[in-house]
């Protein structure tokens, strides 16, 4: 199913006939089967579906942390399925920001240090890195928590640090895997508002996996997966 529109400019993400299966012992378990999907530059889409539908697998493939069995994934014209592990690592560092359900911050580093990590893979000087970190900390309204360690921050604050880490290297694509899955409704709402605000302000392309229909409503388009196949797409028209 091609969820893109013919009249639009070339999509940032272009997926064709994507398939992925897992081998569990002698059992062959297909997870994605012939998925076609286009995501426009600057679009905010939500991937929904029941457990085991393949939405997280699709997100991982888009993010370049997993390899498909068949089909192609082009991001900004690059077929990432053809990249080696080292090339994929470099590509991720330059092009993708990640937001995880459980924040995945390194507990021994402060908020600012966690945010600075992706910048270690760039040519920026220490001072420039510091400036970038301060800027994104201000964006997520955590400037006063720069020196705090993850265990000194609430869940919502930790997720905001993770969002800042995803943004700090200015990637064109942000992938978020259940970003509110570990948060209460109010805090989750705040995090989603922040994501939506950053999307509006910075024009980042965001692909978000979620179980929560309220979270999905913050996206511009909802893509539904069932048993490894895209079954519907809904444009919210924000």
């Amino acid at each position: 199913m091609n969820a893109g529109a013919d009249a639009l400019p070339p999509p940032l993400i272009r997926i064709r006939a994507l398939s992925k299966a897992y081998q569990r012992g002698a059992q062959h378990i297909p997870v994605l089967q012939g998925v076609d999907l286009d995501v426009q530059r600057g679009e905010f889409i939500a991937l929904m579906g029941p457990s085991g539908s393949g939405k997280s697998t699709l997100l991982n493939l888009i993010a370049g942390i997993d390899q498909p069995d068949g089909g192609c994934i082009e991001i900004d014209g690059i077929d990432i399925a053809g990249l080696s592990e080292g090339e994929l690592a470099d590509w991720r560092a330059a092009n993708v920001g990640f937001i995880f359900q459980f924040y995945n911050l390194l507990p021994v580093l402060s908020a600012a240090e966690n945010i600075e990590l992706p910048l270690l893979l760039t040519d920026l000087t220490r001072r420039q890195r510091r400036q970038h970190v301060d800027a994104v900390l201000a964006m997520v309204r955590l400037s006063d928590r720069a020196g705090h360690y993850p265990n000194e921050l609430s869940g919502g604050q930790q997720q905001r640090v993770a969002i800042a880490r995803a943004l700090v290297s200015d990637p064109q694509l942000i992938v978020a895997d259940e970003p509110t899955g570990d948060l209460d409704r109010v805090t989750g709402g705040e995090v989603l508002s922040l994501l939506a605000e950053l999307h509006r302000q910075l024009g980042k392309t965001i692909v978000m996996v979620t179980h929560d229909p309220r979270a999905a409503e913050r996206a511009e388009r909802l893509v539904h997966l069932e048993k490894g196949v895209l079954v519907a797409g809904t444009a919210f028209g924000h």
Binding site: F100, L109, R165
Partner: protein, 388 residues
């Protein structure tokens, strides 16, 4: 800087575990160093021996004496620069527990052959003049609080009776490998005292335990040894001549099994701590799988993650190793005092310190090898799902 901070914080994240691992490492590296030092001390006599000295003894056994008359004949052998002789005295100072070696020597020729015994000239002259005089090494003098002029009574075991010596000098070793725990006195005093005793055996009176022979060229040692032994072939007292080092090693070889066991134990200790530390690093890597996966997701290469783990392992091993080395020195000094004259030269060699450091680093590398190999191949997606 940030990576260094990450490394340091990771290395000591679990304080109890890190502390226990470090204690294990310190004990292992320290024990490794001490055991090596004990083995070194056993070989110290051989190591301190000069390549230009030979020792001639009875071919039958060291306990069989040689005639004094051999001295002049040995002196005439081509390549020989000097000849001296010594008898093992085997006296007891107050109690058997105060064991230390005593030799009756020909002072002038003996001191000429042993320039490593550094003696003030005044004391040397006083010793040479006084037939009842004796000299001792600095460590021995310090141990018993002896001063020049003191009387040192020894109860003879091989040569019965009470023998009293006047301490005329205290020598210092030219370096740390020189034995400073022995007493030297005049061979003539021994010989003449025996001679004066009723029923003295004339063969025993003018007998010598070993000859010490100085040679001009170390390379000629084998040839000169053959020449000396050839002189006395088919005589009543055939000789066996060997380098001083070979002579000393012949004593060490008597306890070779113990030394091999000590060396084996020292290696086993390193292997054990290797296993302990490998276990620690494997647990660490397993617990941090999600963190390593996160780093990989952010764009860090598998090699970076492997280096991070290896550096952590090396850092812990290095800290433990350095603490172990630092502890070895005072501990060795304590053990050296405790064993006293049994192992006269007991010091931690530079080689031992280097081997301790290498052993610690080897432990760090080996401990990280397995977990590093695993995290170099782990699946990022599975890693992200891992709960440490």
């Amino acid at each position: 800087m940030l990576l260094l901070r990450l490394l340091l914080k990771n290395a000591f994240r679990h304080k109890l575990r890190s502390a226990l691992t470090l204690i294990g490492l310190v004990v292992a590296i320290c024990a490794f160093g001490l055991l090596r030092t004990i083995v070194d001390a056993w070989y110290a006599g051989a190591e301190a021996s000069a390549s230009t000295r030979l020792v001639t003894r009875s071919a039958v056994s060291l306990t069989f004496p040689l005639p004094l008359s051999y001295g002049e004949r040995i002196r005439a052998v081509q390549g020989v620069s000097g000849v001296s002789w010594a008898n093992w005295f085997g006296g007891v100072y107050v109690t058997e527990r105060n064991f230390f070696p005593q030799f009756a020597v020909d002072p002038t020729s003996y001191l000429a052959l042993y320039p490593e015994y550094v003696l003030p000239n005044v004391q040397r002259q006083a010793f040479l003049r006084d037939r009842q005089g004796a000299i001792v090494g600095r460590k021995l003098a310090d141990k018993f609080g002896w001063r020049v002029g003191d009387q040192i009574p020894l109860r003879g075991t091989i040569y019965p009776g009470i023998w009293s010596f006047t301490l005329r000098g205290i020598y210092n070793g030219v370096d740390a490998s020189t034995d400073e725990q022995q007493l030297l006195f005049h061979w003539k005093y021994l010989s003449e005292t025996i001679r004066q005793r009723p029923g003295a055996n004339p063969a025993r009176v003018d007998s010598v335990g070993v000859y010490i022979i100085g040679i001009r060229e170390a390379d000629d040692a084998a040839l000169i040894s053959q020449r000396i032994d050839a002189l006395f072939r088919n005589s009543l007292a055939e000789t066996l001549t060997e380098t001083e080092k070979a002579f000393q090693l012949s004593f060490v070889s008597m306890s070779e099994a113990i030394l091999v066991a000590l060396q084996a134990v020292s290696l086993i200790i390193v292997v054990i701590i290797m296993a302990v530390m490998a276990n620690t690093m494997t647990m660490t890597a397993r617990e941090r799988l999600a963190e390593y996966a996160t780093l990989r997701v952010l764009g860090f290469s598998p090699g970076f993650v492997v280096r991070l783990l290896a550096a952590e392992s090396l850092l812990i091993a290095l800290v433990g190793g350095l603490l172990g080395i630092a502890l070895t020195l005072p501990l060795a000094a304590f053990v050296g005092q405790a064993v006293g004259t049994l192992l006269p030269v007991f010091r931690v060699s530079e080689l031992t310190l280097l081997l301790q450091l290498l052993a610690a680093l080897l432990v760090g590398v080996v401990a990280a090898a397995w977990p590093a190999w695993r995290i170099s191949r782990f699946d990022i997606v599975a890693g992200l799902r891992h709960v440490g």
